[in-house]
């Protein structure tokens, strides 16, 4: 099991919890478990095509998963995953 850190604007969808314990052998599986437990999170993490929204950044420790294997990056017991949004607009 890994823990995933939820940023402030998404905590209303996790009953106010900031750190969640979630199962999964890859980052993608962890995210699937997360949105199964908290379905209201889904539209804010994934777009209509099931792709990660552009503001979603995931780090294992200090490493961005985009610099690893993306959503297929393996997750070990005790890993801490940080979900940190980029903020953009125009």
């Amino acid at each position: 099991m890994a823990t995933i850190r939820i940023p402030t604007p998404l905590r209303p969808y996790t009953n106010g919890q900031s750190d969640l314990t979630v199962s999964g052998e890859t980052v993608g599986q962890v995210l699937d478990s997360l949105v199964q437990q908290y379905p209201a999170l889904r539209p804010h993490i994934f777009n209509e095509n099931g792709e990660l929204r552009p503001f979603v950044n995931l780090f294992i420790g200090e490493e961005n998963i985009n610099d690893l294997q993306g959503t297929t990056t393996p997750v070990k017991d005790g890993d801490r995953i940080l979900l940190i949004p980029s903020i953009a607009g125009g």
């Binding site: 940023p7 402030t8 969808y13 903020i87 953009a88 607009g89």
Partner: protein
């Protein structure tokens, strides 16, 4: 109903940051506390626009690293990151489609028109739960309401 309350001196400080950024877009975070529907700003965190220079006139970006620092600072001050402020240089302070695509729920989005280098009008917006559009929410400075409901521009 959600209302954003910000002290006049913080609104002035925020305006100054956006005027200095002109003709580029400026941006930063609003820190404070939520009490029911009232979001009360206690501090602002002006940040550099991390977009490439050629895009900064109509785009802004705050990096994940800056976001993480904002959450850290909010935790130190026993408050929350309430939302984001940014400018629309020489343009209406209405959220763009790009704003909607990148918006986060719960956050308030304060948008300021900066006309010819001068911050002139502020409006505040909240993303709908289904992400389909923004709704405008009132902005209070002290007891004064300086912005109230308008039709949503994106539907």
């Amino acid at each position: 109903m959600t209302i954003l309350s910000i002290p006049a001196e913080l609104l002035q400080e925020l305006s100054h940051h956006l005027e200095v950024a002109y003709p580029d877009e400026g941006a930063g975070f609003l820190l404070g506390e939520s009490q029911g529907g009232l979001r009360r700003v206690r501090a602002i965190l002006p940040l550099p626009n991390a977009r490439e220079p050629s895009a900064r006139h109509n785009r802004f970006l705050i990096t994940p690293q800056d976001y993480a620092q904002a959450e850290q600072r909010a935790a130190q001050e026993a408050c929350d990151v309430l939302g984001v402020f940014h400018s629309h240089p020489d343009s209406p302070n209405i959220p763009s489609e790009f704003d909607r695509q990148w918006a986060l729920p719960y956050f308030v989005y304060l948008i300021t028109t900066v006309n010819q280098g001068k911050a002139t009008h502020h409006r505040v917006w909240l993303l709908r739960e289904d992400r389909s559009a923004f709704d405008e929410i009132p902005l209070q400075t002290g007891e004064e309401v300086i912005s109230s409901s308008y039709p949503s521009p994106i539907s």
